[in-house]
């Protein structure tokens, strides 16, 4: 079917376009204007804004921790949509996740923390999310096998083989490292863990784990650089940890996740302040580093993280007062419900810090739009964050409501910058495609898959982004005026780096010896997933 989107404003930073033009779609792909043919379907989008479908690079939408959060907070399911039947509204159900993302014009979402042993469950859950494409990042960095390789002084080739074998078995798109070594040290009663602290028993410093994994990803030519959740998340004065981690990258590609949670100084009466300016300067000076923000918004949420050490320390501030901490294989994890309050000094500093990072990091190609869903705020808050980024007035209005002493050490009130639509398109479309090595999405060029979001410009920016006018996924019209019009099933994107199969024999011996199970017990074979042809491979560089 030939579809024409007529007369919209096309914003396509990857192809350097921002102009009024027609967009043609055929058989799920964007095509050149065909000569002398009539479209089967025409949408008049004059006065509308046409962008590629958005890509969320870091949103916890599936896996063991997400499910544990659902179990811990059944009351949130009841209040999701008052007035409708209670059972139809399980909050962040797979169904709602797909619907809400699609309605906002997002067509690809990356779940950034899947423990290898939970990969099967995570992929089963992802395959139950309608409409959008998904991907996972596989978590290593606290697992016994890796730390043993490092302790025994094995070379980079063995580590790269192990990483590749794990990525292949778990069908990951990239590698995530969460508080490298910290979760293991937690089991030896460590309650703080810095970049140069040494993991007991393994005698390996956190820094060395990070460097080894970064090197492995580099050697395997996986497009997405190592995705790092640094040590000391949420600790006052932790900006020094983040800056040290940036330096530890030694000029090689590195992605720092939810940087806002590392932008804290220890100044002022509360011993807690925003150090976003210093952190943004460090990011600006390190072109090898990309970051996502993890913006905090004031509302009830739940923090879910495989950083078990951090989550254990956060249990006392849980609201409602309940939590789950589990000390499992490798990372373990923690689920701590949390209420970000506008009147709270610390929460206000966090809120300001995130916005400062957005606004002070100059290059929109290296700063990504996230709330670390649901840790800073649920992804349903995205439209409100867009509004804050694009409007100085909206920021000033919101800043007037928070405790003013929280802004005393912040540069936020003095920042005049407003994101424009082109920068929003870079941050949410073009740059993520580049970051993950997607050639087929994040742009509106010919040959790209027809993931297209059409927005109606509105003075109310949040309203504009909350309900897209039209959304196409692979050329199917899935959303009309913010309502899902058509259901379909997306794919999971993954990489498949080659490796020396000798590591499989070693892993087989390891699992047999320690657990008495097959080493590929957590592999995700295609035939197990409910939809046919569930994966799409993203090529590694040659």
């Amino acid at each position: 079917m030939l579809i024409l989107l007529k007369g919209g404003r096309l914003i396509d930073p990857l192809n350097a376009r921002d102009e009024i033009a027609d967009l043609w779609i055929e058989d799920g792909r964007i095509v050149a204007p065909p000569q002398g043919r009539q479209p089967d379907q025409t949408h008049d989008v004059a006065g509308k804004i046409v962008m590629a479908g958005a890509i969320d690079i870091h949103s916890h939408i599936a896996g063991g921790n997400v499910n544990t959060a659902r179990l811990l907070l059944p009351e949130l399911h009841r209040t999701a949509r008052p007035g409708e039947l209670s059972l139809a509204t399980a909050k962040w159900s797979t169904f709602e996740t797909g619907n809400i993302y699609a309605a906002m014009g997002f067509t690809t979402v990356v779940e950034p923390a899947v423990a290898p042993h939970q990969a099967l469950q995570a992929h089963l859950e992802l395959s139950d999310i309608p409409i959008i494409d998904k991907a996972t990042l596989t978590v290593l960095g606290n697992d016994d096998f890796l730390l043993s390789l490092l302790r025994d002084g094995e070379g980079p080739a063995a580590i790269a083989d192990y990483v590749a074998a794990t990525l292949a078995a778990s069908n990951g798109l990239g590698l995530k490292c969460i508080n490298a070594g910290g979760a293991t040290a937690f089991k030896y009663n460590a309650r703080t863990f810095g970049l140069d602290d040494v993991v007991p028993f393994y005698d390996v410093a956190s820094r060395k784990i990070l460097e080894a994994l970064q090197r492995a990803i580099q050697d395997l030519k996986v497009p997405h650089p190592l995705h790092v959740h640094c040590n000391n998340l949420g600790v006052p004065g932790n900006v020094s940890t983040a800056i040290a981690t940036i330096e530890a990258a030694r000029g090689l590609p590195l992605h720092l996740a939810h940087l806002q949670f590392y932008g804290y100084g220890d100044e002022g009466d509360h011993g807690f302040s925003s150090a976003a300016a210093a952190l943004a300067a460090a990011v600006n000076a390190a072109p090898n580093v990309s970051v996502d923000v993890g913006q905090v918004m004031f509302q009830q949420t739940v923090t879910i993280s495989s950083d078990v050490l951090r989550q254990f320390n956060g249990v006392s501030s849980a609201k409602p007062r309940k939590s789950v901490i589990y000390d499992g294989d490798a990372n373990g994890g923690g689920i701590v419900p949390y209420l970000y309050r506008e009147s709270d000094f610390v929460n206000a500093v966090q809120w300001a810090c995130g916005l400062e990072l957005f606004l002070l990091i100059n290059d929109p190609w290296r700063v990504f739009f996230t709330t670390d869903h649901p840790n800073g705020a649920p992804f349903t808050a995205y439209p409100d964050v867009f509004a804050l980024l694009m409007s100085r007035e909206a920021r000033a209005e919101a800043a007037a409501r928070v405790p003013q002493d929280a802004l005393a050490h912040s540069t936020l009130p003095s920042i005049a910058r407003e994101y424009n639509l082109n920068e929003i398109a870079i941050m949410t479309r073009a740059a993520p495609a580049k970051l993950f090595g997607f050639k087929d999405r994040g742009h509106l060029g010919e040959g790209g898959i027809a993931d297209v979001a059409v927005y109606s410009p509105d003075k109310d920016i949040a309203k504009m982004f909350r309900a897209a006018h039209l959304v196409f996924k692979d050329g199917d019209l899935v959303v009309r005026d913010g309502r899902v019009a058509h259901y379909r099933w997306g794919k999971a994107l993954k990489v498949n780096p080659g490796y020396d199969k000798a590591i499989d024999r070693r892993l087989a011996g390891y699992y047999e010896r320690h657990f008495g199970v097959s080493h590929n017990m957590f592999a995700v074979p295609e035939h197990i997933l409910p939809h046919s042809d569930p994966f799409q491979e993203v090529a590694c560089a040659q």
Binding site: P74, E75, L76, R78
Partner: protein, 268 residues
């Protein structure tokens, strides 16, 4: 002033959600508007007018003539005024009640008075399990007000009670006052196994105590000044309860398996 009367005409063929029928929600509505309110919990639409014969009156007092165990959520989040149910009701009657007076002349289902924070709930018949208790996931049960049950309660009455008073004139099933955080639970009839299981603080008064868990510690017999004050307060609501608290009381502290700052009292 004349009350608003809703006379049940037939047994409903599905469970109904009566939470819209609260004094503060019906204030100023005409009988026609009230008749159009939807109550269904299935796909089959049912309105107030389909089920009830409506006699208009001030919505500050709502009288249900006739009841059914399928009528759920009566008095949900009620803030003021009065509701009288002349019959049975289903689950969660008086859930989140914060003010006003709610009377059930028949039996109530489970979760009666769930998480109520004020006001007064009186049930003349029996109540199901989890009297005053929170729903799954919630951390606190009843947190204020007065809940009087003239009949008997099911299991786990007063689960996670936080504040306020529950008075049961009949008997109670197993684990009354389980996980109590604070507040007072008075039981005049027979008591099931393990009262005060994992209670942290608060007071349970039993007329007929069963064997207590070994995690309750005997503190001897007391003539508590507060008990006699409380006795006088309860006199208008229940003479039997007042009498129970008037004499000397055995005091057991517990549950030592939890915080252990609670107490179980029974006549010496």
């Amino acid at each position: 002033m004349k009350p608003l009367v809703l006379a049940l005409e037939q047994e409903p063929d599905q469970r109904l959600d009566l939470s819209p029928l609260c004094p503060h929600l019906l204030e100023g509505k005409s009988a026609k508007e009230i008749a159009e309110i939807e109550l269904q919990t299935t796909r089959e639409k049912v309105t107030v007018g389909d089920l009830f014969h409506i006699r208009a009156g001030s919505a500050q007092t709502i009288r249900f003539e006739g009841g059914s165990t399928r009528l759920d959520n009566i008095g949900f989040e009620m803030k003021s005024g009065e509701i009288v149910v002349e019959g049975d009701c289903g689950k969660s009657v008086g859930r989140n009640l914060s003010g006003g007076n709610l009377i059930v002349a028949g039996d109530a289902g489970p979760f009666a008075g769930s998480c109520m924070s004020g006001g007064r709930l009186e049930i003349w018949g029996d109540a199901g399990d989890f009297l005053g208790a929170p729903l799954e996931g919630e951390m606190e049960g009843m947190s204020g007000g007065l809940l009087i049950l003239r009949g008997s309660a099911g299991a786990r009455a007063g689960d996670r009670l936080r504040r306020g008073t529950i008075l049961i004139e009949g008997s109670a099933g197993d684990y009354p006052g389980s996980r109590m955080i604070a507040g007072t639970l008075i039981l005049l009839g027979e008591c099931g196994v393990l009262p005060g299981y994992l209670m942290r603080r608060g007071t349970i008064v039993l007329a007929n105590p069963p064997a207590l868990a070994p995690t309750f510690v005997d503190c001897g017999v007391h003539s508590l000044a507060f008990a006699s004050v409380f006795s006088r307060l309860l006199e208008p609501e229940s003479r039997a309860a007042a009498k129970l608290l008037a004499g000397p009381l055995n005091r057991f502290a517990g549950d030592m398996a939890a915080l252990g700052k609670g107490e179980i009292l029974y006549p010496a």
